[in-house]
C-alpha cells in the first residue's frame, strides 16, 4: 500500500495530524514567497497536495485499527481547548478533501494557465488556506475548534468567489459572506454557547454531550439552530450563497463548492447529530419531523430548480444543494444506518460532483460554452470529457456499478428502518429528478448534431481541454467506480461512530 511515514518512527500520529493542517499553511507562505516564478509556485502546490494526501492516507490505517490520534494545542477558555482528534467521520472527510485536493491542483494548473486568469498567486494561497481549514475542521476535537475552522474556511474562500473582481462577482461575494458568516454568527454561535452553558463542555463525545441534559423543547430549538446555523449545508432558505459562489473559477467550484465547503457543512451537522446530541436524542426530538420536512423540501425544490437552469454550473450547483439535503436527511433520520449512509454519501457525491464540475470547466476552456442548450453534439468534440460526465451523472443518480448507489441504498434503508416513508418517497422522487436534470445533458452531447452539421456521423476534429484537466476528470470519474467496490471499507471505517452492536455493511448479495 502506501509507504507510511510512521514506519520510520520519525513522526507520531499526532504529528501527522498537525502536519495535515500546517502543511497547506506552509505551502501558502511558500506560494506567496515564490510568486514571481509560476512554475516553482505550482510545484509548491503540487508538493504540498501530495504531502497532504500522503499524510491523510497514512492516518487512515491507524484510525481503521481503532486509533484516535489527538493533539491539544492550548486551552483558550476554561474547559475549551483548541484541540484536534481524528475520529472516523473526520478521517473520511479528510481523506476525501486531501485526495481530491491533489487531483484538483493538477486540474487548477491546467485551467488557470489555459484561461490566463489574473492574480493566480492569491488564488493558490487562498486555496491552500481553505484546504488547511477544511482539514482542521475535519479533525476538530470540539465544537469550538470546529467553529474556528468553519469561519476561516468561509473567509479564505471569499476572495476566491470574488476572484474575477467584476461587479457580479462582488455582489455574489457579498451574498456569500453575509449568508455564511451571518448564519454562523447569528444561529450557530449562540447554539454552541448554549450547548456550553447546558453541557459544560464542547468536546465531541460518543453518545452526545447533550443527551439527557436538556429538555425536549430546548433540544429541538438547539437542533434547529444548528441545522440552519450551519449555512454551509445549504438547507433552504439559506442556500442562495451556493449558486452565487459559481462565479468563481471552475476549480474553486469543483473542489470547494462541491466538496470542501459544502461537505464541511453537512459534515458539521453529522458531527453535531452524532457527537453533540447523540442519534437517539435527535430521533426522539420534537423538532425532528419539522427539520426533516425542511430538508425534504430542499431536496425536491432544488432538484426542480436544477431542471430549469440552463447554465451548466448553476444546474450543478442546485444539484449540489439537493444532494446535500440527502446527507442532512441521513443525519436527521438518525438511525445508525442512515448516519453511515450520510457519511458515505459525503465521499461518493464528492467524487461524482467534482467530476461534473471538472467537465463543465473543461467544456468552457475548450469551447467557451456555459449553457446546457449550447452543448449539442459536444460529445463528439470532447469524447473523454463527456464520457466522464456520463459516468459521474450515473453515479449521482445512483446506478451500479458506481459509488452513488451504495450511499443512496443505505440512506433508503435507514429511512425504512425508521419508518420514515415520506423520506423514502422523497429520496426516490429526487433520484428520478436527478435523471431528468443530468441525462438530457449527456443525450444532447452525444445524440444531437453539432451546430452547422446536418447529422451526427460527419467526422469532426476533436478538441479537448488541456491534458491536466482531462487527466484530472478521468481520474475522478474512475474514482466513482473504485468507490463502488471500496464502499465496504468506508462503512467499516464509519461503523464505530454509531453503536457497535449493529454493524452496517454493504449487502454482499446485491
Amino acid at each position: 500500500m502506501i509507504p507510511s511515514l510512521l514506519d520510520s518512527n520519525l513522526l507520531t500520529p499526532a504529528d501527522l495530524v498537525a502536519l495535515a493542517i500546517v502543511g497547506p499553511l506552509l505551502a501558502a507562505v511558500g506560494i506567496a514567497v515564490f510568486h514571481r516564478w509560476p512554475n516553482l509556485r505550482e510545484t509548491i502546490t503540487l508538493v504540498a497536495a501530495t504531502g497532504v494526501a500522503w499524510v491523510v492516507w497514512s492516518l487512515a490505517p491507524i484510525v481503521m485499527a481503532g486509533g484516535r490520534p489527538q493533539l491539544t494545542i492550548f486551552e483558550i477558555l476554561p474547559g475549551v481547548s483548541f484541540a484536534l482528534k481524528v475520529e472516523p467521520l473526520g478521517m473520511l472527510f479528510a481523506l476525501v478533501a486531501g485526495t481530491l485536493w491533489l487531483i484538483n491542483s493538477i486540474y487548477s494548473i491546467g485551467y488557470m494557465r489555459c484561461n490566463n486568469e489574473p492574480r493566480q498567486t492569491s488564488f493558490y494561497i487562498c486555496f491552500a488556506v481553505a484546504i488547511a481549514a477544511t482539514l482542521g475542521l475535519a479533525f476538530a476535537q470540539n465544537l469550538f475548534t470546529l467553529f474556528s475552522f468553519y469561519e476561516i474556511l468561509t473567509l479564505s474562500t471569499y476572495p476566491l468567489v470574488t476572484h474575477k473582481g467584476t461587479p457580479a462577482a462582488m455582489r455574489a461575494g457579498r451574498v456569500y459572506l453575509l449568508l455564511l458568516l451571518g448564519t454562523s454568527m447569528v444561529l450557530l454561535l449562540p447554539a454552541i454557547l448554549a450547548t456550553y452553558a447546558f453541557a459544560g463542555t464542547l468536546d465531541f463525545q460518543a453518545g452526545g454531550i447533550l443527551s439527557g441534559k436538556v429538555s425536549a423543547a430546548a433540544t429541538g430549538i438547539l437542533l434547529a439552530l444548528y441545522v440552519f446555523g450551519i449555512g454551509k449545508a445549504a438547507i433552504m432558505p439559506f442556500h442562495a450563497w451556493l449558486p452565487n459562489a459559481m462565479v468563481a473559477p471552475t476549480p474553486v467550484s469543483a473542489l470547494l463548492h462541491a466538496v470542501a465547503v459544502v461537505k464541511a457543512g453537512v459534515f458539521s451537522i453529522l458531527k453535531v447529530v452524532v457527537y453533540v446530541f447523540g442519534i437517539d436524542t435527535v430521533a426522539s426530538s420534537p423538532a425532528q419531523p419539522i427539520l426533516i420536512a425542511v430538508a425534504m423540501i430542499t431536496l425536491i425544490l432544488a432538484s426542480l430548480i436544477a431542471l430549469r437552469k440552463d447554465n451548466l454550473k448553476a444546474r450543478l450547483a442546485y444539484s449540489t444543494v439537493s444532494q446535500l439535503a440527502y446527507i442532512v436527511l441521513g443525519a436527521l433520520v438518525a438511525t445508525s444506518v442512515s448516519v453511515v449512509g450520510a457519511g458515505l454519501h459525503i465521499a461518493t457525491h464528492a467524487a461524482g460532483k467534482i467530476t461534473l464540475f471538472f467537465c463543465a470547466g473543461a467544456i468552457y476552456l475548450a469551447h467557451r460554452k456555459t449553457e446546457v442548450s449550447s452543448l449539442n453534439g459536444i460529445g463528439r468534440l470532447m469524447p473523454y470529457t463527456m464520457t466522464a460526465f456520463l459516468i459521474a451523472s450515473m453515479s449521482l443518480i445512483g446506478l451500479p456499478p458506481l459509488a452513488g448507489m451504495w450511499s443512496k441504498w443505505l440512506l433508503l434503508k435507514g429511512a425504512l428502518d425508521a419508518q420514515q416513508l415520506m423520506v423514502v418517497a422523497a429520496l426516490m422522487l429526487s433520484s428520478l429528478l436527478s435523471v431528468a436534470y443530468l441525462m438530457p445533458i449527456v443525450a444532447r452531447a452525444f445524440f444531437k448534431p453539432l451546430p452547422g452539421f446536418s447529422d451526427s456521423s460527419t467526422p469532426v476534429q476533436r478538441k479537448e481541454a488541456p491534458w491536466p484537466c482531462v487527466f484530472a476528470l478521468l481520474v475522478t470519474a474512475l474514482l466513482t467506480c473504485v468507490l463502488f467496490f471500496a464502499a465496504d471499507a468506508i462503512t467499516q471505517l464509519l461503523d464505530p461512530i454509531v453503536s457497535s452492536s449493529n454493524l452496517v455493511t454493504v449487502p454482499s448479495d446485491v
Binding site: 492550548f74 483558550i76 477558555l77 483548541f82 469550538f144 467553529f147 474556528s148 469561519e151 476561516i152 473567509l155 476572495p159 470574488t162 473582481g165 462577482a169 462582488m170 461575494g173 457579498r174 459572506l177 453575509l178 458568516l181 451571518g182 454568527m185 447569528v186 454561535l189 449562540p190 454557547l193 448554549a194 456550553y196 452553558a197
Partner: protein, 498 residues
C-alpha cells in the same frame, strides 16, 4: 524594596508630566519626539513593574502623597483593576510613539510639532493620574489634564474642521467633567470625604438619611463619565474628534481615553457605590443595557454608511464601547469578564486600524473610501493588519474579538437574556458589512494611476501596526493576560461588594 520600587505609583504620573515640560522647552519637533520616546518607554516599563508588584503583593498598593495619610491626604491606590488599565495605556502609548515621528512630521506644521508631543505626554499623564488616584477630586483634575491636552491635539488636525471638532469636544467634555464634579460634590456633602475607599465605607450608613442625594450623585457621575466614554447617545463629539484629529492622536485616543473613562465608571459602580446600590436600588443596569444595545446597533449601522473611513471607525468605536458597557451592565461574572476583556481587545484592534489608516493617509493623503481603491495590493502589510483587526471587530474565532463575544454571550445567557444574544450577534454581523466595504474597495478594485508608486509605510510606522495586529491574533489564542486576568478582576469587583 528599593526606593524606586516604593515610588512606582508616583513615577507613573510624574514621569510623563516632567517629560511634557521638557518637551515644551525644546521647541523642536525632533528633540521633543526623542524625549517623548524615552519617557513613554520608561513609563511603559514602570507600568510593567507596577503590574508585577501588584501581582506579587496580592493586596492593593497604597501610596500616600507627601506623607499625608489617608483619608486626609491624596492616595494613589493601585489594585488589579487599575494596574490593568494603566498597563494597557502605557503600552499603547509606547507602541504608538515610534510611529508618531513620521506621521506627525507629515500632518503637523514643523513649528507646532513639539507642542503635539507635549500634549501627548500630558494626555498620558492625565490618563495615568485618573486611573491611579484613589481620590475622587484628584481624578477630576487629571480628567481635565487629559481632556485639555486632547482638545489641543485634536485642534492640530490637518483639516480646518479639526478646530470645530475640538471646540465641540471641549464643550461636551467640559459639561461631562462638570457633571462629574457635581456628583463628587454631592457625595462629599453626604460623606465628608473624597477618598474612593473612604466614601465606599461611609456611604452605606448614610443611605437611609441621604438616599436620594446619593442617587442624584450617582446619576450625575454616570452621565458625566458616560459623556467622556462616548456612550450612545452622548457620543456626538467622538466621530468628528476621531476623524479630524491627527492620525497619531486618534490612534492614541481610540485606544486609551475612553478606556480610562470606563475604568472610572467601574470604580464608581463597583467600588464606591457597590453593586447593590448601583444595580439593584436604581435601575442603572437596565438603562445601561438599553443604551448599550442602541449603541451596538445604531452606531454600527451609521458606520456602514460612512464614506470617510476614519469616521466609520469612530462610529464603530461607539458601537464597540456598547459591548463594554453591556458587559458592565450585565454585572455577572461572565458578562463583566467580557466587558473588561473588550477594554483591552478593542483598544488593540481599534488602535491598529487607526494606525493603518494613518499610514494610508501618510502615503496617499486621504482616507476617503473611494480613494482607497486597490490600496490592499499597494500596501499589503498595512491593509493585512487592518483586515485582521477588522476580523477581530467582527469577532471571528482566532482573534481577540471572539473571546470578548464569547464571554458577553455567556453573560447574557447566564442572565437568561436571549434578545441580548441576538443583539450581540447582530451587531457583529453589521461589523462584517462595514469592514467588508473597505475590504472590497481595497482589494477588489483596481488601483488608480495616482497610486502607482504607493507602497507600505517606512518600518518605523509599519512595525507598530504589525505588532498590534499580531497582538490581536495573540489575544485570540492566549488569554492569560486578557480574559483570565479580567475574570479575576471581575471576581474581585463582584465579590468585594456583595
Amino acid at each position: 524594596m528599593s526606593a524606586i520600587e516604593l515610588h512606582l505609583p508616583a513615577l507613573q504620573v510624574v514621569l510623563p508630566l516632567i517629560g511634557a515640560m521638557l518637551a515644551a522647552l525644546t521647541r523642536s519637533g525632533r528633540l521633543a519626539w526623542a524625549i517623548a520616546l524615552v519617557v513613554t518607554w520608561v513609563t511603559a516599563a514602570n507600568a510593567v513593574l507596577l503590574v508585577i508588584q501588584v501581582m506579587n503583593s496580592g493586596v492593593p498598593i497604597s501610596y500616600v502623597l507627601g506623607g499625608w495619610s489617608v483619608p486626609i491626604g491624596i492616595e494613589y491606590r493601585v489594585d488589579q483593576l487599575n494596574v490593568f488599565v494603566i498597563a494597557l495605556v502605557a503600552l499603547l502609548g509606547a507602541v504608538v510613539l515610534p510611529y508618531a515621528k513620521r506621521s506627525v512630521a507629515h500632518e503637523i506644521r514643523p513649528e507646532l510639532q513639539y507642542g503635539f508631543y507635549t500634549m501627548y505626554l500630558l494626555c498620558l499623564a492625565g490618563l495615568f493620574g485618573m486611573a491611579i488616584t484613589g481620590d475622587a477630586f484628584n481624578a477630576f483634575v487629571f480628567l481635565e489634564v487629559s481632556s485639555l491636552s486632547t482638545y489641543v491635539m485634536i485642534a492640530l488636525g490637518r483639516h480646518r474642521r479639526a478646530l470645530l471638532a475640538s471646540y465641540q469636544y471641549l464643550i461636551m467634555g467640559t459639561i461631562g467633567a462638570t457633571f462629574y464634579v457635581i456628583g463628587i460634590g454631592i457625595l462629599y456633602l453626604i460623606t465628608g470625604t473624597l477618598n474612593f475607599a473612604d466614601i465606599a465605607s461611609r456611604l452605606p450608613e448614610q443611605m437611609d438619611a441621604f438616599g436620594r442625594p446619593a442617587m442624584v450623585a450617582l446619576s450625575f457621575l454616570t452621565v458625566g463619565i458616560c459623556l467622556k466614554l462616548a456612550l450612545f447617545p452622548l457620543h456626538v463629539w467622538l466621530p468628528n474628534a476621531y476623524a479630524y484629529a491627527p492620525s497619531v492622536a486618534t490612534a492614541l485616543l481610540a485606544g486609551t481615553a475612553t478606556k480610562v473613562a470606563i475604568y472610572l465608571l467601574l470604580r464608581i459602580f463597583f467600588s464606591v457605590f457597590g453593586i447593590e446600590i448601583s444595580f439593584r436600588t436604581i435601575p442603572i443596569g437596565q438603562v445601561l443595557i438599553v443604551l448599550s444595545v442602541a449603541a451596538m446597533i445604531i452606531a454600527a449601522v451609521i458606520a456602514v454608511f460612512e464614506e470617510n473611513t476614519e469616521r466609520m471607525l469612530a462610529y464603530s468605536s461607539v458601537s464597540q464601547i456598547g459591548y463594554i458597557t453591556l458587559g458592565i451592565a450585565l454585572a455577572n461574572q461572565a458578562g463583566l469578564t467580557g466587558g473588561l476583556t473588550h477594554i483591552i481587545n478593542h483598544a488593540i484592534m481599534k488602535t491598529t486600524m487607526f494606525l493603518a489608516l494613518g499610514a494610508v493617509v501618510y502615503r496617499i493623503g486621504t482616507s476617503m473610501l473611494p480613494n482607497l481603491a486597490g490600496i490592499g495590493r499597494k500596501m499589503p502589510l498595512t491593509m493585512a493588519a487592518f483586515v485582521i483587526s477588522g476580523l477581530g471587530l467582527v469577532g471571528v474565532p482566532g482573534t481577540a474579538g471572539f473571546i470578548t463575544k464569547w464571554y458577553l454571550v455567556l453573560g447574557a445567557l447566564e442572565k437568561g437574556a436571549w434578545p441580548l444574544v441576538a443583539v450581540i450577534v447582530a451587531s457583529s454581523l453589521i461589523a462584517v458589512v462595514y469592514v467588508g466595504r473597505v475590504v472590497e474597495v481595497a482589494y477588489f478594485k483596481s488601483p488608480s494611476a495616482e497610486l502607482a508608486d504607493v507602497k507600505d509605510p517606512p518600518l518605523s510606522m509599519l512595525l507598530p501596526i504589525l505588532l498590534l495586529a499580531a497582538a490581536t491574533l495573540y489575544f485570540g489564542f492566549d488569554t492569560t493576560w486578557s480574559a483570565e486576568w479580567c475574570a479575576q478582576i471581575a471576581t474581585d469587583l463582584l465579590g468585594g461588594t456583595s
